[in-house]
């Protein structure tokens, strides 16, 4: 027993003592619970305690002045029934809008360090709107039996990322899992993910958010929700509504178990995190935490005290303020240290490099801190290197040799090339060979480019080849929301109604072409979940509010489109079997460059505008140290073309592993030998992948 953990004072019936000032938020200690909160502008602070779900508190305990160091208030309260308590803080301070001070002692504030939050325990359950305290901090047991688990130590080169929405992944009946739409449900799908072969799952935001934020009637008796969740309520709490056990406040255990299970199957966990803004909105938005703590520190404000809106979501978190920076660092360290997550993807990350006035910085302290933090040392850090305020930093994101980026240029170039636009062969050759024109490998390393053709934001891969135009009417904005620069092509038929078989065949071929290019490109590939079996969003390219069949994966398509799944699985396996594709090859075969670009003739790349044929050869060593070659031949033209594959060393010959032109048979059961004396005819709009084999 520690000698500093006994009560020293009483307040009413409560035994209390000064707390652990360095331990933010709430923490269970022997005999009691420690509560710590900081606010530089606070005159005083009260701890407010509620029985679970009750509107009125059962206790209001002011922090005595002697329980304050600097601007930190800390108190241990003894003998609390900590599983059945919710708590918040009330802070007294100045209200002066122009100066950015918006203290309001009538508001009960969520602990910004709350480890679990109640109030939205069951997804979609209508909250009691008369309750003034909507998001309620709870006290978490943060021990967990990890059974030896740690963040995975496999190199980033091996990443094959699968971007998924926790709820949408298994919510549909067709998922067949017991705990649909939850962390536990995702565990039930791990065998599927393993079979597919991906090595990391990137989850759309799982920090507590309010699915009812901005909720509207959809006009058909349903509701449009904040489904994606890019609007954080609490940065340290997993979303209760994503946990089957959220109604028992066990979301922390459930999510930790998910991480442990994924790790046991060799799958890393990457979290999509939103630090550019919070759910507090602008001056008309709710008080959750920060507005009542230190509004003018946490947010970038105009000289008149209004909220800058670089996020497009009402406010902008003041990321390079030292206090906010520490909060973000604390948060990321917490998720790595306590949840064993393997990395993060930062939404609208360009904001993380803006100063307190909103100007981009050359050397942003936050990004630098993250790049060099000891706990985050091996964590994957991925930036979405732009923001809604017009700052576009793809290739220029302050990376410190540590950060990877979503390569938006990869997406656009590959899409345009695949649909048949002219003048893109050179650009696509660069994208496949690692985008070194964008990411200088000397400074940025092997894994700077996260290559993707689709992500949650935009068309699914099926829809990319099924719709010329977005169809967002269901989102309630008259179809005006969502991007217009989709570079999509419907293959000659808009949508799926009365779809002719030949168009469907072409769409499947286009999907396979995309998959082959994505998995054969240097950098880190990212697949949108469901693309591997042709999931559709019915042409909706912005279903952020669609908590229904538009967004939920329809697993029936997996049966229907087995050819797509088989193809994805194959190209993933090819990537994993050839170290050179991950830049992990130990050496190159004598006389061959590691990467070479070809045209219809070997060693002669044609960069002219009307050329649509690209061959890329990767030359390395396989895991047993022998020479290993991979060739991808792409014909984006609407006519077939013959290509000469580069000659191999004498003891090796080419074999074709996949050919997207062959429909259901695109994946060869046994790779087929290629006659090196003849051209290989690549069909119209088709892709082949060949590998080297020993001459028989």
């Amino acid at each position: 027993m520690r000698i500093d953990l006994h009560p020293t004072d009483t307040y009413g019936d409560f035994k209390i003592r000064p707390g652990l000032f360095l331990s933010n938020g709430s923490q269970i200690v022997p005999g009691g619970v420690n509560f710590t909160i900081y606010s530089s502008g606070a005159k005083s602070c009260e701890l407010i305690l509620f029985h679970s779900h009750e509107k009125e508190p059962f206790a209001v305990i002011p922090f005595p002045e002697s329980y304050r160091i600097g601007s930190v208030f800390s108190m241990i309260v003894f003998d609390l029934d900590y599983e059945n308590i919710e708590y918040g803080f009330r802070i007294d301070g100045e209200y002066n809008f122009e100066h950015g001070n918006t203290f309001d002692k009538s508001k009960t504030l969520l602990d910004p360090y709350a480890k679990i939050i109640s109030g939205r325990d069951i997804w979609g359950k209508e909250p009691d709107w008369t309750n003034k305290f909507q998001y309620r901090s709870k006290i978490a047991l943060d021990d967990f039996d990890w059974e030896g688990d740690m963040p995975l130590k496999t190199p980033h080169n091996e990443l094959i990322i699968y971007e998924a929405h926790v709820r949408g992944f298994t919510k549909d009946e067709s998922s067949g899992v017991k705990f649909k739409g939850t962390f536990a449900g995702l565990i039930e799908k791990i065998p599927y993910l393993k079979d597919l072969g991906i090595t990391a799952i990137e989850l759309l935001p799982i920090f507590e958010f309010d699915e009812f934020e901005g909720a509207r009637d959809d006009g058909n008796g349903g509701k449009l929700m904040n489904y994606w969740g890019y609007s954080t309520v609490g940065f340290f709490a997993p979303k209760a509504g994503y946990a089957a056990s959220g109604r028992f406040s066990m979301q922390a255990d459930e999510f930790k178990n998910l991480v442990k299970e994924l790790h046991q199957n060799g799958i890393k966990v990457i979290l999509d995190v939103v630090f550019n803004h919070t759910a507090e909105g602008n001056e008309n938005g709710p008080y959750i935490s920060f507005k009542g703590l230190d509004n003018n520190m946490y947010y970038i404000l105009t000289p008149e005290g209004y909220y800058y809106n670089f996020s497009g979501c009402g406010n902008t978190l003041n990321c390079n303020n030292p206090i906010v920076r520490n909060l973000i660092l604390d948060c990321l360290r917490y998720w790595v240290g306590m949840y064993h997550v393997d990395g993060f993807r930062f939404d609208l990350a360009a904001i993380l490099g803006r100063d307190s006035f909103g100007a981009p910085m050359a050397n942003p302290p936050l990004l630098e801190s993250l790049a060099f933090d000891p706990i985050l040392k091996n964590a994957v850090l991925i930036a979405e290197a732009w923001d809604a305020g017009g700052l576009y930093q793809v290739g220029n994101f302050p990376a410190y040799g540590r950060w990877a980026e979503w390569n938006g240029k990869y997406r656009d170039d590959v899409r345009r090339f695949l649909k048949g636009e002219s003048g893109l062969a050179g650009a696509v050759a660069s994208r496949i060979t690692g985008s070194e024109d964008i990411y200088d490998r000397y400074w940025r390393g092997d894994c700077a480019s996260v290559n993707f053709i689709t992500c949650h934001d935009g068309f699914t891969l099926y829809d990319l080849f099924a719709y010329n135009d977005k169809h967002n009417e269901a989102n309630g904005w008259g179809g005006s929301d969502g991007g217009n620069d989709n570079h999509s092509w419907n293959c000659g038929w808009e949508g799926d109604i009365d779809l002719p078989a030949d168009i469907n065949f072409l769409r499947h071929k286009m999907i396979k072409n995309a998959a082959a290019i994505l998995l054969m490109s240097l950098g880190i590939p990212m697949i949108l979940s469901g693309d591997e079996f042709g999931n559709t969003q019915y042409g909706n390219n912005n279903p952020y509010c669609q908590d229904n069949k538009i967004s939920w994966l329809d697993w029936n398509d997996l049966q229907k489109n087995q050819d797509l799944f088989k193809f994805f699985k194959k190209v993933i396996a090819i990537r994993k079997n050839h170290p050179v594709l991950m830049r992990m090859s130990q050496g190159t075969p004598f006389g061959y460059p590691m990467i070479s670009v070809h045209g219809t003739n070997a060693w002669q790349f044609d960069g002219s505008p009307e050329n649509r044929v690209i061959g890329v050869m990767f030359a390395g060593k396989n895991s047993s140290g022998t020479d290993d070659f991979v060739y991808i031949g792409i014909n984006a033209h609407w006519e077939s073309h013959g290509v000469w594959l580069p000659a191999l060393p004498q003891n090796l010959s080419w074999q074709v592993e996949v050919n997207s032109d062959l429909g259901e048979n695109a994946v060869y059961d046994e790779p087929a030998a290629i006659n090196s004396a003849e051209q290989f005819i690549i069909g119209a709009r088709s892709v082949i992948i060949c590998t080297s084999t020993n001459l028989k």
């Binding site: 029934d81 900590y82 599983e83 059945n84 978490a140 047991l141 021990d143 039996d145 059974e147 017991k178 705990f179 939850t182 536990a184 565990i187 946990a243 089957a244 056990s245 028992f248 406040s249 066990m250 255990d253 459930e254 178990n257 442990k260 299970e261």
Partner: protein
């Protein structure tokens, strides 16, 4: 929480009755552990209506203690709601759990 030794011959059956939550779990854990005397043991959860986070930890600590003492021990007869909680949180994999007391007797061989 009521803890009773229902049977104590070649097999010991300990039954728990009530809610296993923050108010009861520490005591329940200590009491059950004190009853582990080396015999094959069945812990009946048939009358446990709810298991909270701290309750899960108590059950895990009992199981770990039994394992450390090389005691053959199994949980039995938990109601569906409790089994669901074990499944959702993954504790099901760390707790040896069977459906009925008969199954438990078989499991203990």
């Amino acid at each position: 929480m009521n803890i009773k030794v229902e049977r104590d011959d070649n097999i010991k059956i300990i039954s728990l009755d009530g809610q296993l939550d923050v108010a009861s779990s520490d005591n329940a854990r200590d009491e059950v552990i004190s009853l582990l005397d080396g015999k094959p043991t069945i812990i009946s959860l048939a009358k446990v209506s709810y298991v909270s986070s701290s309750g899960l930890r108590a059950l895990l600590m009992i199981a770990k203690t039994a394992k450390a003492k090389k005691i053959n021990m199994v949980y039995a007869a938990a109601i569906d709601e409790v089994i669901d909680v074990f499944e959702m949180t993954g504790f099901i994999k760390m707790l040896r759990c069977v459906k009925t007391i008969e199954d438990a007797e078989k499991a203990l061989g």
